[in-house]
Symmetry: C2
Subunit: 235 residues, 2 copies
DNA sequence: TTTCTCCATACTGTATGCAGTATGGATGAC
DNA sequence: GTCATCCATACTGCATACAGTATGGAGAAA
């Protein structure tokens, strides 16, 4: 990812036949690839808050034309990663602690509700999936695996829980909020606490026991804990 | 709005100096104007669910080039009004009753929480603003004003309440959800009940009395009522 | 020195061009 | 009649072109 090398040599859209019986694998559009690349650049600090994102130079950097870059920037704007100033173009958004708190608050609302729903909907298959993720995450956190992987596992646990909740609108919103939250944590917080798999264990137990209210409350507290990490940074 | 007449004769962006001391009024970009126009066409049924939105013909209809149309379609896709199928282009989204229920559920979560926050934050100015809106809305609903206006006033009440709550992330999400909800009500429901200003009155009283929990619960029930309208349509 | 004006520069916003792909109907095989 | 194949058509996705605007600094005026 350090050498962007242009996004892809084979830019003329082709398809790949999957080995299994999954019918066809859609190659992502250029604008989607650009979007993901830019989001990574922003999240990992290679593009700093406030920085001006000139379409032409990004296009050159990524080996594409301005068009897909432009569309990617608009998408990132809707997701809160960049700001579009009329006539000035795109700038990396400068998150504030207030905004971070607000995102965590909304996330807590939506995820705790999804957790409540999950406790109502859970079936054996869902319970198994959660157990697998828990086992993996718990072990990885014990071993102090690479932080990138820990973040990924943590996110997988939350995402899966929300998916089991089953409200697709909520699922989509939470996915966005999680990505923003990850950025804030990486940007604002210097030293991130490892995600608490002890709390995940409690939540999981409540969900499997179909104790909806308890599951909801536990998830609420759980996310509030991560939000509390933000409080140290003031303003 | 029936004769799109091209969006604007003076397409070369110019600015207008406001009469008052509001400094400058930014003319919206073409893509934003197109976005709004298309959203109206969709919400008011001029573009029907499932319809293929070919960029060229829309561009011609609106008197602009494909480019701003394309960007507007992508924005509308993010907002849930159109679906983009890779290689096929944009189609007006076909809402389902399930999806509508989900939107109302999330809306209820976010707005009831904002209402709780509003009860904590409210000041004299906020209370005055709410009272004015209530008075206007109550009167209009008594008079059985034009439905379009009733919907507008209803939305204003909710938007103002959310704004007083003060969580900007929530404000932005709720604004999106309200627009979708409005579409669903117009599309799915044949006969929409007038918004209940009696319930608004109760909510407003609780907020002004700073009774946060009661305000929250009332708003939750209030939105559930409108959601219940959806239940008649099955699936 | 300070402030205003003007202009060169860089970049956005919109339009147009072009290559490649999805689709549906015509055609032919069975 | 049914099914597979092929091709014309329409439209997308990306690239490029062009016009117009925001900005910052040079130079003039005070």
């Amino acid at each position: 990812m350090t050498t962007p090398d242009s996004l892809d040599a084979r830019a003329g859209a082709t398809r790949q036949l999957a080995r299994g019986d999954v019918p066809v694998l859609q190659r992502a559009s250029l604008r989607e690839q650009v979007r993901q690349a830019l989001e990574e650049f922003i999240v990992f600090g290679r593009l700093a808050p406030g920085e001006h994102l000139a379409e032409e130079s990004l296009a050159e950097l990524l080996g594409v034309s301005r068009q897909p870059v432009r569309e990617a920037l608009q998408s990132l704007s809707a997701a809160g990663f960049v700001d579009l100033r009329a006539g000035r173009g795109a700038f990396v958004h400068e998150p504030t602690a207030r905004e971070a708190r607000e995102v965590f608050h909304v996330r807590a609302l939506l995820e705790s509700d999804s957790c409540r729903l999950a406790a109502q909907n859970i079936d054996d298959d869902g319970a198994r999936r959660l157990e697998v993720i828990y086992a993996e995450g718990h072990e990885a956190s014990q071993r102090h695996d690479d932080p990138r992987r820990l973040i990924e596992l943590n996110r997988t646990f939350h995402r899966t829980m929300t998916e089991i909740g089953g409200n697709r609108v909520s699922i989509a919103l939470v996915a966005d909020l999680e990505r923003r939250a990850g950025w804030y944590l990486a940007t604002i917080i210097t030293n991130r606490a490892p995600s608490s798999w002890a709390e995940h264990r409690e939540i999981l137990d409540a969900v499997v026991a179909r104790d909806a209210d308890r599951a909801r409350d536990l998830m609420l507290n759980h996310i509030d804990h991560s939000r509390d990490l933000l409080e140290f940074t003031g303003q």
